[in-house]
Symmetry: C2
Subunit: 385 residues, 2 copies
């Protein structure tokens, strides 16, 4: 491949990493995507990924939103999190705020997929993304399950990625190999989803032996999907799932999962609603990591900083104000040009960094964020229910 | 007056309230505004308000932003908060992030005003609003102090209001009388202030006897300026000051200060950066007031809700999502159309309400907010430092 998947300035893949065709899943996995009729225009909207290994290891992280969608509740309350053999996904309907019928529909979607695969229902996860507050057309989904199960292929990641995408402007997926271990991952980002939900989903497959899938996933997500913001809004449907077939007999190579998830996370920001640039708000010299994180998030979520990113304005005053708000009531001394390096905001690059130096300790944190643009306003004001 | 100052649907002035000319200050007060050269174009930019009564009672509330401007630090650390005779204000320069020179300039501005008035320096407050990170032209300010002190008049509130305004599209001031007590108040709102600070200032004068000015102010501000958001950003320069001359010999009539500050607060939202509509996000049935407030703020600050307000989209799903984010990790049951009344968002009115009903208790809260518009993005992206 002429252009590497690991294209961000903030991502270094471990030395020796080989990129394979992203349509090829890690050994031991198959996937497919087919149209079932949820998306207008007949787009691919039903996806399935399965692990051939009965002794699969897995972990998942789900949105904590109190208005979580039915599929999130199914995963949280009715799934064996560390033994997920398959995930059935639709795009086009989030099945959120759909009440008891929504729960029944998500459970039926899941049980029919399990039946088609011959798996225990509790080992099948379900994810959905799209319009919310609208009953799921479960008959359409049901009608597509046999087809998607019949189409499973070791080369099916392209169709699967299409099936989980909504308004993503480019597919976000990769397959990479290092030290005899392959990791494949497919993500969808925070596009405009009528009537206004941005959901992030990511599915990861590997032939590594995952001794502690939960710890591996939390660590990699902690440095990637948990460090991004488009508009500071927590979705009702966010889900990240990792599955390991163990077929390589080797552990996860150090750094590979981190690099893959970080690149995917930055691409989600870059493809955020109306986004034209990606910023990294860095805070160093904070008293604690919690404080560094809070200040970095306040900067990254400030509409004044986000419009300065759009306007190529190296406006350190807006950064001082946002940081001062996050540290309200504290005595932080002067926050001026000596403490705030924001010159890259004024430059031409698509990926820029700003750094605030506090003089309170040694802790640091960074948050990636997109700019606030006219397209964001247009996308979100003009779509109506 | 044909049109009442108390024009918002959410404000009722107490029965019997008379509106006087807003240029007339409450008995015992004089004010003035003159140009001193800070504002480009020679606009009125230096204001002074004084109380004739030596035994003035007063209170002030200041921003808690850790990057607070020099005038805020002067008020907080070097002023007798309950004995404020005068306030000297400039617009055009916020004197924020200006270091030790900024503190020296604010103290000099204050001591020269005190000298011109024959007051103790500690009884004079100082407020500033405008560009930040730029040294104050203290010589210009100094040159204007004698003139503004010489122009003090019982009818000076119009010039004073002009002197504290930046990009306000209309003056925000009132004088009202009830039960033999007069209250006058002047405010400036959250306009675009190069390079990106929105400051709210409000000065209140009354001839009432203020037995507990601090409690009166906190209570009225708690139902007004603390319940609004334009873009969720806490300013470096916000200040609200009340002064009582006691000349009426009567206490503050119940409800008058509340109504005045609430109307002014709603006007600040209505005149917020690029704003075209004002929404009130109400949360009822919360477990605690803190919870109700947190959920209402999450709704009011959600860019998805703010663009729905612009787009006249009665999008209850975005309200559910924002509330769910504020209640992350809690079990709140369904948040659907039965719990969320958002139909006014879709209507033609300029002032609209939305209500979320939780089923967790009896507490409630409301936050006024503006919509997020193209003008907001333009104003904040196109002004550069």
């Amino acid at each position: 491949m002429s252009e590497s998947f690991f294209s961000s300035r903030w991502v270094d893949s471990p030395p020796g990493t080989d990129e394979l065709s992203p349509s090829a899943l890690a050994p031991g996995f198959r996937a497919a995507g087919t149209p079932c009729g949820l998306k207008a225009g007949g787009g691919t909207d039903l996806g399935l990924v399965t692990c051939d290994a009965e002794d699969v290891a897995s972990a998942m992280l789900l949105t904590r939103n109190a208005a979580a969608a039915a599929p999130i509740r199914v995963c949280r309350d009715h799934t064996v999190a560390d033994r997920i053999r398959a995930i059935i996904v639709n795009s086009g309907n989030a099945n959120a705020s759909t009440g008891q019928q929504g729960m029944a529909d998500a459970l039926r979607m899941r049980s029919e997929a399990a039946e088609a695969l011959g798996f225990e229902a509790g080992t099948v996860a379900v994810a959905e993304t799209g319009v919310i507050g609208v009953p799921l057309d479960i008959e359409s989904v049901s009608g597509g399950i046999a087809e998607v199960a019949g189409a499973l292929s070791a080369e099916g990641a392209t169709a699967f990625t299409e099936a989980i995408s909504t308004t993503d402007q480019w597919p976000k997926y990769v397959t990479a190999e290092l030290d005899g271990v392959t990791v494949s991952a497919q993500a969808k980002g925070a596009g405009m989803i009528e009537p206004g939900f941005a959901t992030m989903l990511c599915f990861i497959q590997t032939d590594a032996v995952l001794d502690d899938a939960d710890a591996d996933l939390r660590s990699a997500v902690g440095g990637s999907f948990e460090r991004i913001t488009v508009d500071g809004q927590m979705s009702t449907n966010d889900a990240v799932v990792i599955q390991g077939s163990g077929m390589s007999g080797a552990p996860l190579p150090a750094g590979l999962l981190d690099a893959i998830l970080r690149q995917l996370a930055i691409e989600i920001v870059a493809d955020g609603e109306g986004a034209s640039r990606v910023g990294l708000a860095r805070v160093v010299g904070a008293a604690t990591e919690v404080e560094a994180d809070r200040v970095a998030r306040a900067i990254a979520n400030s509409p004044l900083v986000k419009t300065a990113l759009l306007g190529r304005d190296p406006n350190w005053g807006r950064i001082a104000q946002a940081a001062g708000m996050a540290l309200a009531g504290e005595d932080v001394g002067e926050l001026g040009p000596d403490e705030i390096e924001a010159s890259e905001l004024g430059g031409p690059e698509r990926e820029v960094e700003l750094t605030l130096t506090l003089r309170r300790g040694e802790a640091e944190a960074g948050i990636w964020f997109s700019d606030l643009t006219h397209d964001y306003v247009t996308l979100n004001a003009e779509y109506t229910t």
